[in-house]
Symmetry: C2
Subunit: 324 residues, 2 copies
């Protein structure tokens, strides 16, 4: 190996970042006992439970959301001593890109009560992430939610590694284990590893375009002055994730049962569009965040060569991180 080659590293697979999303921790145990299906691509994998205390308690988190605890200013602020910020620092110390066992890429496995199907969530427009998502979309057709430019929601785990994305599967209630959700999660993870192996081998051909659902903002339930909900999600919007939604379409029903159209419910800062694509509709954990659903715009982006070059370079470093 030439001395100037950047150091190798492993792939970090995290499950149980939220302690009431039980499929990924189940899969981690399964893969530890039987690594066959993941090992064949030749990468070094670190299989890690994100929030073991919350998992043991069957709760999303103990003090605060671990997947909002990775903002650099929170990590650096030593007054921040919540269990989750401490755990975020520990994960970075152990498995971060400069950690004891450095990982260069992270796949963070989640489930949701929303009808998201099997899907990918990206945080920002890093070429590596986009290339990996394009490769997975080509293989499995998974929809991609690009989360960016939202000051109210930040500090996501995958942002602290050079490359990484969330695999998000639903609908499934919190605390429930379903075989089908496990299978979908495993399929997405295997597709990610296959894309990375092809990139490392120089065999990866990305599709000409990537379809992304770009985050525009979130819409909260109507609320009364004391903060309690003054309406419910309109039944026509239940399980309508990824389906087009127009400003005249009903999104809530108010206390007297009257429909409230999207146009009347949208915060003023959201850009006006003829059509939106909603995601994370009625996710149980988002009520406390003031999110009844998020709105995206569906875009088809050309896939530039640069994305592939970045992913190929990273994949070769991942290969060097593998056991001999």
């Amino acid at each position: 190996m030439p001395s100037e080659a950047p150091p190798g590293g492993s792939i970090l697979v995290v499950g149980g970042t939220h302690g009431n999303e039980r499929h990924a921790p189940w899969l981690l145990e399964h893969w530890r006992a039987d690594p066959g299906s993941l090992a064949r691509h030749g990468f070094a994998l670190q299989l890690v439970v994100g929030n073991p205390e919350a998992l043991a308690a069957g709760r999303r988190y103990i003090d605060c959301d671990l997947n909002r605890s990775f903002a650099p200013h929170r990590l650096a602020d030593l007054h921040q001593q919540s269990l989750e910020v401490l755990r975020a620092r520990e994960l970075l110390d152990c498995h971060g890109p400069e950690g004891l066992e450095p990982a260069l890429l992270v796949l963070d496995l989640h489930s949701t009560t929303a009808a998201m199907g099997n899907s990918l969530v990206l945080y920002g427009r890093r070429p590596c992430d986009l290339a990996l998502a394009a490769g997975i979309q080509q293989r499995l057709g998974l929809p991609v939610y690009l989360h960016e430019a939202d000051a109210a929601q930040s500090g996501f785990l995958v942002e602290r590694w050079p490359c990484g994305l969330v695999i998000e599967v639903g609908p499934v209630p919190q605390g429930v284990l379903r075989a089908a959700i496990c299978q979908q999660t495993q399929a997405a993870l295997e597709a990610a590893l296959a894309v990375l192996a092809a990139a490392a081998a120089g065999d990866l051909r990305l599709p000409p375009r990537l379809v992304v659902h770009r985050h525009l903002g979130s819409v909260d339930l109507p609320r009364r002055s004391d903060g309690s909900p003054a309406g419910l999600l309109h039944p026509s919007l239940e399980a309508a994730d990824w389906r087009p939604l127009r400003p005249s379409d009903p999104v809530f029903i108010d206390r007297s049962g009257c429909p409230v159209p999207l146009g009347a419910a949208m915060p003023p800062h959201l850009p006006a569009q003829e059509t939106y694509w909603p995601v994370f509709i009625n996710e149980a954990a988002y009520g406390e965040k003031g999110i009844a659903f998020s709105l995206t715009t569906r875009e088809s982006w050309p896939v530039p060569q640069l994305w592939l070059a970045d992913l190929a370079s990273l994949s070769r470093r991942l290969q060097r991180g593998a056991p001999l």
Copy 2:
């Protein structure tokens, strides 16, 4: 009113006995603001949140399950000072049959992650409960789960009032509010009040038979020696509540993906039957109770006159509890 008539009392409607079941607390607020649809039957109603602390925390309970905290020995044992046992005593002191504002009948509103539809749960064979269930079943066709003779699950709220049952609606994830679940809950509650009003007026005619699903026992996931699950629910059993299940039918898949038939998974004390009717399949909160699903036997019982007489007598006392 003749002096020897037993005293009147009100109807207690409880929601939020479990703090992550949000539909009933939402409905309680709605009914407080707009009592019209419930008030027309002329009964005095007390609308009470079962576990306000757990509701505020978005959790099923704080210390222990409130709906297992009403066993007389726990209520009487002053060493029992968990938040939920204290709350159980408080509910009885305030709204119990000998409480400050005595209620004679309780309707406890729950939701579940299991596909139970709109359903009724009875605890034991009290004629009043059976008559009320028969009247509701006649109006709405709701299935009835008769829970009895299970030492592992006891101390249910409704057992401490002279008459009462649980209205159980699902599937819905914990922490999520859905309009359809609210509507079903309201429909069942209104049917209960209509049955009671007819009984008080002497107009109630019960059906000749009541169909009950009588509890036989519960089946846990296969587990390893450390208690962690060694299998998943078989996909064919997802959402199959109230559907016939035979001993040869698969109920789990083991770690290697092989199906496990019901016959191989049943605890030995469960009676052998050709057909069972499973309920509460994959209810999120029952994992910690060691219940993957419960098994019932479906029976059609003749409805004796005694049931109607008991309910009519109680209903007249409820009418005397109403405001003039």
